[in-house]
């Protein structure tokens, strides 16, 4: 074993006999070591490849959602604009919100979880590699169902298609009732097939998220390398654990709410039908019981990323690690107790309003603790201003801005003024862009050298930082004023003379500056992947275990299981006392047991597309779509049964000593 873990030479790996595809219990050949790149990536169970696919798809949808936002801002740039119709405007903001939350940020977080968590805890892979593949492809199926609506809308606009059947006469095929889909607007009397695409799309995405979340809790709790105690876990892994638990306990509420809505629309139930006694307020409660934890599902991974970047570039341990972890857990816990602050204006009653107001303010405490701990980490450190650090510091400041306006919302009387105005838009975009996007960019710049093995070069990253931060502030800071002087959100246009014209123009210019920044970022990623220089294994002199592997990591991660002596294990190994070196478990002669790749999770996931699309298209009167949906259901069942029967398989690898 070499004394340093880095810069080990790469050489070919020796394998034993089992390298040929082995047959599964079903008698099929397993798709291991396929020559075809397509088959290899489709059937992969490698958490790193799955993470990369999540990331690529997330960036794609970030651009789609961004384009939707730009059309919105172009429409609002001048008063009484008619670039898009009111209906199209509604569809754009609905799809912008839904896409950004479920198809951009959540999968981007999933990309980080997948790539990093097994490496950070010293594991071979996640606990359930095939379930991981199932989650990825089910997510793809959900994204497909949701965005298929645009295709239907295009057919409708071209005059090729008119809805008949249950939604006869309705020409809205893209969801247009807002990302939180308030009842009774979503009922059959008011909206067309767009709502069905939204329901089915989100339902499928929810299944994907639940599968992934359970997988990650099992992985983090059960697959840690020896010595990796809970309080030695990197903060990012801790936040993954908290987020996964939030998903497990928050998603059932939206699953049921969506199910009730689907029953209302398809089977004539009365959950939200006002005429029959249904209560639209129930939808709001169920939605926000999911929706508020969802906010933390989105932002806690960002906090995890920042908690990794700041110590690395300050050359100090994270200030107050236990309290940062504890604060993250408290934020997650309190996240379940504040949902009604989205509903202050619905007339909850004084006691409920006061209680939710207080609890919302209470969340500021652990958040503030984290911010002070991050500043404490910087304090007295040897700070290096590389790109990840620049974005992380940007995160602290911009996220804090979003937090400040959040605190203003927590006061119910103030919130009654700000409700449904542009002030709210300003608040959550400071959190979403200033917080989550900046932290994600920081994370990508930080880990890209590990993921692709190449270092980004030049100072394009500085320009990305300038354009995104300036664009973000120019776009969203004026919205605070716009909201306070009364501009309501979700209006497709406005009259001149309210004093909104100038602000709106500035916001729209800012949006294009921000978009240019994101475009530069994508270009920088592509440049890094094509022209980057080899990064080396540990370019940042970093602290956590993923940097102890090669760049990019071998598909088996660690040649031998590391034994973890301390928190910030790699840092201690490099710079700490002798007794804190990372040791490795002795070779037991069996080599590394690798899981086999499999078609079955892909098959099961694929079934969700016909199931979802069939049910949606049934609603617009296309014949035989019920059979398509049933075929989808059978495909899912078949995939799961074959998955169970085929057996996990697997083969052994014997990496050469110097590659460990």
């Amino acid at each position: 074993m070499s004394s340093t873990l880095t810069d080990t030479p790469t050489s070919s790996t020796t394998h034993d006999h089992a390298l040929k595809p082995e047959t599964s219990n079903l008698g099929f050949m397993r798709p291991d070591h396929s020559k075809s790149v397509l088959i290899d990536w489709l059937t992969t169970v490698d958490h790193k490849k799955i993470g990369i696919m999540y990331g690529a798809i997330a960036l794609f949808f970030l651009l789609i959602g961004g384009i939707e936002a730009l059309i919105i801002r172009a429409q609002l740039a001048v008063p009484e604009n008619d670039l898009v119709s009111a209906q199209r405007y509604n569809q754009l903001f609905t799809m912008h919100g839904t896409t950004m939350i479920f198809l951009a940020i959540m999968p981007l977080n999933a990309a980080f979880f997948n790539f990093l968590v097994p490496l950070q805890i010293g594991a071979r892979d996640v606990a359930f590699p095939r379930l991981n593949s199932f989650s990825l492809w089910t997510f793809v199926a959900g994204a497909l169902v949701l965005n298929f609506s645009w295709l239907m809308q295009a057919f409708s606009e071209l005059g090729w298609f008119t809805a008949s059947g249950p939604t006869a006469g309705m020409d809205d095929f893209v969801p247009g009732m807002g990302w939180f889909g308030y009842a009774p607007l979503t009922e059959r009397q008011f909206t067309g097939a767009g709502t069905d695409f939204w329901i089915l799309g989100l339902q499928i995405l929810g299944i994907a998220s639940l599968g992934a979340a359970m997988n990650f809790v099992a992985t983090i709790l059960n697959m840690r390398a020896p010595g990796m105690k809970m309080m030695r876990l990197p903060v990012f892994t801790w936040m993954t654990l908290v987020v996964s638990l939030l998903i497990i306990f928050a998603f059932p509420a939206i699953t049921i709410a969506l199910g009730q809505l689907m029953f209302d629309r398809m089977f004539d139930t009365n959950f939200f039908q006002v005429a029959e006694g249904g209560q639209p307020i129930l939808w709001q409660h169920l939605f926000w019981i999911f929706g508020h934890p969802e906010v933390y599902i989105l932002v806690l991974p960002a906090m995890g990323i920042v908690s990794e970047v700041l110590p690395t570039f300050s050359k100090k341990p994270l200030f107050g690690y236990p309290i940062v972890v504890f604060s993250g857990a408290v934020i997650g816990f309190l996240g379940f107790a504040v949902w009604s602050h989205h509903m202050f204006t619905t007339g909850l009653g004084k006691v409920a309003t006061a209680a939710f107001s207080l609890l919302t303010m209470a969340i500021a405490v652990p958040t503030g603790v984290k911010i002070f701990n991050w500043i404490g980490t910087l304090w007295g450190g040897r700070v290096r201003f590389d790109a990840p650090m620049i974005f992380s510091i940007g995160f602290i400041w911009m996220f804090m801005m979003g937090g400040f306006s959040g605190i203003m919302h927590s006061a119910a009387p103030a919130d009654a003024q700000q409700q449904d105005s542009y002030f709210v838009i300003a608040h959550f975009h400071y959190v979403a862009i200033g917080g989550i996007l900046l932290a994600s960019i920081s994370g990508i710049y930080f880990w890209l050298p590990k993921i692709v093995g190449k270092m980004w070069t030049g100072n394009l990253s500085t320009w990305v930082a300038i354009f995104t931060t300036v664009g973000l502030n120019v776009t969203f800071f004026p919205m605070h004023f716009l909201g306070l002087i009364g501009m309501p959100r979700r209006t497709h246009t406005y009259l001149s003379g309210f004093g909104w014209d100038g602000y709106n123009m500035v916001c729209s210019i800012g949006a294009f500056i921000l978009a240019f920044g994101v475009l530069l970022f994508v270009i920088d990623i592509i440049l890094c992947m094509t022209k980057g220089k080899p990064a080396g294994n540990d370019p940042w002199d970093a602290r956590t275990l993923e940097w102890a592997t090669t760049s990019p990591p071998q598909h088996y991660n660690f040649g031998r299981t590391p034994i973890i002596p301390a928190r910030d294990a790699l840092w201690e190994h490099k710079h700490g006392p002798e007794n804190r070196n990372i040791n490795f478990e002795a070779d037991d002669g069996h080599g590394i047991h690798m899981p086999s790749q499999s078609w079955m999770p892909v098959l099961a996931s694929f079934g969700f597309a016909p199931l979802g699309l069939g049910l949606c298209l049934m609603q617009v009167g296309i014949p035989y779509m019920g059979y398509v949906a049933i075929a989808g259901l059978f495909t899912i069942a078949l995939g799961i049964i074959l998955w169970a029967v085929e057996g996990p398989g697997g083969y052994h690898l014997h990496p050469e000593e110097d590659k460990i």
């Binding site: 219990n25 071979r124 892979d125 996640v126 606990a127 359930f128 590699p129 095939r130 379930l131 639940l210 979340a213 359970m214 997988n215 809790v217 099992a218 709790l221 059960n222 697959m223 840690r224 020896p226 990796m228 497990i248 306990f249 928050a250 998603f251 059932p252 509420a253 699953t255 049921i256 709410a257 199910g259 009730q260 029953f263 209302d264 089977f267 004539d268 139930t269 009365n270 959950f271 029959e276 006694g277 249904g278 209560q279 129930l282 169920l286 019981i289 299981t561 478990e585 047991h593 899981p595 049964i641 998955w643 169970a644 029967v645 085929e646 057996g647 996990p648 398989g649 697997g650």
Partner: protein, 200 residues
Amino acid sequence: MSDDAHNNDDGHHSLMVNNKKLLMWLFLGSDCMFFGTMISTHLIYRKLYPESYDPTSLFSLELTSFSTFILLMSSFLMALAVSAMHKGDIKSFRRNTIGVIFFGLIFLGCQVYEFTEFVHAGLTLSSGTFGSTFYMLTGTHGVHVAIGVFWLICMYFYSFTGKMDAHQSAVDVEIAGLYWHFVDIVWIIIFTAIYLIEFI
């Protein structure tokens, strides 16, 4: 079911719990929230509209008590099946599993009969909020039972392949058992909060 845990570990579990069992516990935690949401919906609407629908003449406590008893006994047989698999007694496992399947089917039959009766008596999915919440909740529970029955049928037939033994399969049967017991417990709550409560 599948055997991913063995895929991937080095015989080492940080929590000393099998991965698959941990996953099932997490799923059951999620399922608690799932049923909790539906039961709350039912109880909220029941409280909002106390006079809207009186199901006491419709509900047959004798029938539902019988099916509840059957489901409880199926849980007992499930426990015996798990115990048999731990001992590697495959014959006893089969005997008890077929009992669970049989009892599960009786329960489902009672539910189908009950639903048919109710629909004939005029309670449908569209009957106010009571019909909606009642059918959705009990129907979702029925689907859970049906999935459990299907799962056990698969296991029953799988046991004839000779691939099941105490060492490898005890944990798989145990997980199916966890699921079955959970579905049983949920039914006891439903029986209390949806049926019995109407007769107070």
